[in-house]
């Protein structure tokens, strides 16, 4: 990155092990990583390499056994509105309307009276005007994810964590939400960390891409995406970078060949 801004998120030797009965699984091993203000980071890696685990640690939904995670210089000990989290499936409150879902955080933090005008602003921002008063089961998956994003952003988080938020969506809706994310990031100067399986998505959105490998989960490589913004999905430089990136990704995730295989 050209201008070096201050670090918002810092992970120091983070490790997480799950124990059940007699078996121990080391899910994360010594993750060291910092994120600067306003950066867009994508995390990719094979299934089961600990991406969700890492994101949950940052959100405070889980605690690391080794190392520590600092958000704005303070250690994360429990979930807080400072780190917003977008779940894989909308995870909306089914009994609340779109508007009420978006306002949930304000109500819970007793900020509703002062800030309720913000709700309309966020409804407009995520393009849900006209759907304020319907219930979650009446909207599409893509709309549900946008509600979920608005619901998090209204709490003014330092950082937004997204765990494969577009995994279940078709490619048109995906592209739509990707652009929305970039727009929201520009408008709010917010730091985002996105877990994804989609390399195009990672290249299109990110400033840096973190490649993780499993058994035990760790960061194998961090790649800068030095494409000028705004980016175009169809441009030659985009394809070029994507191809280079794929090669590196394959190298990074290639399993060491066991010797007995012919």
């Amino acid at each position: 990155m050209s201008e070096k801004r201050n670090v918002v998120l810092k992970m120091e030797h983070v490790g997480r092990t799950y124990r059940d009965e007699e078996k121990e699984t080391e899910v994360l091993q010594s993750v060291d990583f910092s994120v600067r203000q306003g950066e867009f980071i994508s995390i990719i890696g094979a299934s089961g390499c600990g991406k969700t685990t890492l994101l949950r640690l940052i959100a405070g939904l889980d605690r690391p056994q080794k190392g520590r995670i600092l958000l704005d210089g303070e250690e994360i000990t429990k979930p807080s509105p400072k780190a917003g989290y977008i779940f894989q499936q909308g995870n909306l409150f089914q009994w609340l309307t779109v508007r009420q879902n978006i306002g949930f955080g304000l109500k819970a933090q007793h900020l509703y009276k002062e800030k309720k005008d913000k709700i309309d602003e966020y409804i407009r921002m995520v393009g849900l005007k006209g759907f304020e008063d319907v219930y979650p089961h009446q909207i599409s998956g893509g709309m549900a994810q946008r509600v979920s994003i608005a619901r998090s952003l209204i709490c003014n988080p330092e950082i937004l964590l997204l765990d494969e938020p577009m995994g279940a969506l078709d490619s048109f809706t995906r592209a739509d939400i990707q652009d929305k994310l970039l727009e929201l990031k520009r408008e709010n100067d917010i730091t985002m960390i996105l877990v994804t399986h989609d390399i195009d998505e990672a290249v299109y959105l990110s400033d840096r891409i973190v490649i993780m490998t499993p058994h035990p989960g760790k960061i194998s490589e961090i790649v800068e995406v030095d494409l000028p913004k705004p980016r175009h999905r169809g441009s030659e430089s985009f394809f070029e970078l994507r191809r280079k990136f794929l090669e590196r990704f394959e190298m990074a995730t290639a399993q060491p060949q066991p010797e007995y295989i012919i």
Binding site: A59, G60, L61, K78, P79, S80, P81, A83, G84, Y85, F87, N91, F93, Q94, W95, L96, T97, F104, G105, K107, A108, Q109, Y135, H137, Q138, R151, S152, C155
Partner: protein, 338 residues
């Protein structure tokens, strides 16, 4: 003329036919009552004072039939407003017609020729004499039942929902209270009657206690189930949005459990009716159950039927009210489940 207009015209004709058909059933009953003479002996044609005007039992019966006919006629006319209502009305016409005819036949067999075993099966007009002769007394007993029901049921709902939340939320409460709930829950509430009557200062409070107990069990166990089945991810989402624990209980767990809570409440409603009537029959100074018992002693079965009729209307009305509240509270489910 367009195709759609033609088909709607057809529907309208069908609706008119259905209205006339429905009313015809009741008209038959009215004519039967009016034209068929009284064959059987022992049915006194007394005139009762009903507030300002006097009525005998046949006139009262016909008045009821006319009211029913008018009500169905009016609802038929209002059904012109929407296609859905019209279809519903047309669909119900046959049953309503049969109802009118059945009332006529019952009047003929029960009162006019008295072939049904007496005094167990009086005709409809005779049942009405109970209301004509002691309507006030029946009304007082109905109020007594209603007061018992309201006290017991509201108490049961409050106690049930709060126990359910506590068991569902706190493992310690679950450990100590759930077994007690499971064991006492299977005992029919009226079994506690002898204790209740001695332990409570008044028969009224004893009966309220029994209704509370019988409503408590289904509501508490279903509330508990609902709270326990709330997905963890919803709690996580709400925590990230800044909810305190108390806020999570009342704004995540309870709303999530609401459909189950209402299932519990509907079940409890049925239990409460049973317990109410049984408690009244076993030792209350008033109420519809008491009225049935007292009338049975004098073999006044037409009064028993009158009380049953009041129960049918009253309990249906309460259930209908509950349904309205439920639909209102769970309006977010509309279209979600069939």
């Amino acid at each position: 003329m367009s195709e759609t207009e033609k088909t709607f015209g057809k529907k309208e004709k069908k609706l008119i036919a259905s209205i006339l058909f429905t009313m015809a059933g009741f008209l038959v009953a009215i004519l039967e009552n009016l034209l068929v003479p009284q064959f059987a002996i022992g049915v006194a044609l007394e005139v009762y004072d009903l507030k300002i005007f006097g009525l005998n039992h046949n006139e009262a019966f016909r008045l009821i039939l006319i009211c029913l006919m008018a009500a169905y006629g009016l609802s038929g006319i209002f059904s012109f407003k929407s296609k859905k209502k019209a279809e519903e009305y047309i669909q119900k016409a046959r049953f309503r017609f049969a109802m009118g005819i059945a009332l006529g036949i019952w009047d003929y067999l029960g009162t006019k020729i008295k072939v049904l075993p007496q005094p167990f099966f009086p005709g409809p007009a005779e049942i009405l004499t109970a209301f004509l002769s002691e309507g006030n007394y029946i009304f007082q007993n109905t109020l007594y039942s209603l007061r018992l029901y309201a006290g017991g049921f509201v108490g049961g709902v409050l106690l049930g929902v709060s126990t359910g939340i506590l068991i569902g939320w706190f493992p310690k409460v679950k450990y100590w209270v759930e077994p007690v709930l499971k064991i006492t829950g299977v005992i029919p509430a009226v079994a506690w009657m002898p204790f209740a009557l001695t332990l409570f200062p008044t028969p009224y409070s004893a009966a309220v206690f029994l209704i509370v107990i019988c409503a408590w069990f289904p509501i508490a166990s279903l509330t508990k189930q609902g709270i326990e089945s709330t997905p963890k991810s919803l709690f996580e989402a709400s925590e990230i949005l800044g909810s305190s624990t108390v806020y999570q209980v009342f704004h995540v767990a309870v709303p999530y459990a609401m459909p189950q809570i209402f299932t519990g409440i509907s079940t409890a409603n049925g239990f409460a009716f049973t317990t109410l009537v049984m408690a009244e029959m076993m030792g209350q100074p008033g109420g519809l159950g008491y009225y049935i018992n007292a009338s049975k002693v004098w073999s006044a079965y037409y009064k028993v039927f009158a009380a049953i009729l009041v129960m049918a209307v009253l309990f249906s009305f309460i259930t209908w009210l509950l349904n309205i509240v439920q639909r209102r509270v769970l309006r977010w489910q509309r279209g979600l489940i069939k």
